[in-house]
Symmetry: C2
Subunit: 180 residues, 2 copies
Amino acid sequence: AKPKQVTYGNRGMTLEEDINETNLYYLAQGKAVIHKKPTPVQIVDVLYPSRSAAVIKEAYFKQPSTTDYNGVFKGRYIDFEAKETKNSTSFPLKNFHEHQITHMEDVYKHDGITFVLLRFSATEEVFLLPFPSLHAYWKRMLDGGRKSITKEEIERDGTRIRLGLHPRVDYLKIVQELYF
Amino acid sequence: AKPKQVTYGNRGMTLEEDINETNLYYLAQGKAVIHKKPTPVQIVDVLYPSRSAAVIKEAYFKQPSTTDYNGVFKGRYIDFEAKETKNSTSFPLKNFHEHQITHMEDVYKHDGITFVLLRFSATEEVFLLPFPSLHAYWKRMLDGGRKSITKEEIERDGTRIRLGLHPRVDYLKIVQELYF
Ligand SMILES: [Mg+2]
Ligand SMILES: [Mg+2]
């Protein structure tokens, strides 16, 4: 009998959900301590009802000044951002904010490990692209060049992450190969 | 003429404000990249008015699952919590949540640099106490012992941080001495 094909495709999970699951796995396995930062919110009005929890009645989303994920792996500082696109031939740079690039540049200068995880959602491919490559394409855009990174460039400069069931996106395997 | 005495006392700044200023100084000076994490909020209801920013209409404060501050210093991962007390002879351990202790324990196991900054607000003294000491006193409490760390214990096991104007709380000076 033909074995049932294992497919991880079209599970309807976002990259963020996959990474959160992966980080929980890493924590439980004692591999690393990496957390997603809370969404930054500007709180304007809070109600303190007696006998119950404080309720935030008015607040606004703030632009994050850093990346979403950071933590420690074998004593080293890890810092990354995760983004997905529905495009299939290139990754738009408008997905990044300038202060995120600046933050990653700072981390890079301080010898932290910093990169982006890029997912092409149509094909569910995930790549780890080290910050220096991202930075080079960002500068190309600032110099008047294209506003995206082609898939070929990502395949050449980045590393594809094999998807699994548990953990779903084993990015530390690639970090181990590239940075240690 | 008697020189005007420089005093940093009673400036009415919270420890958090002092640390945020210090972290901005470190970033500007290229010393380290350390940020406070946003306050975690559970968002329940969001209004999306046309032509203006989304308004969060109902949200609740969540218990943080990690410490408040983390980042990178000379490639190493730094992770700490800052607390103050109005007590003058001891520091109450109820200021810490169990999951913060667990998080610091995880970071410690992964060879990250983790500690607490403790301020006695009456005297404006700030101490850096490495995690293993905090952990020992936490376990003493769990074993039925006292629910606080005495000031003498903090003076013995921790390191006093000299306060300044800029940066206000130069904790990385102590980190450099203790961990490098
Ligand atoms: Mg993000
Ligand atoms: Mg706190």
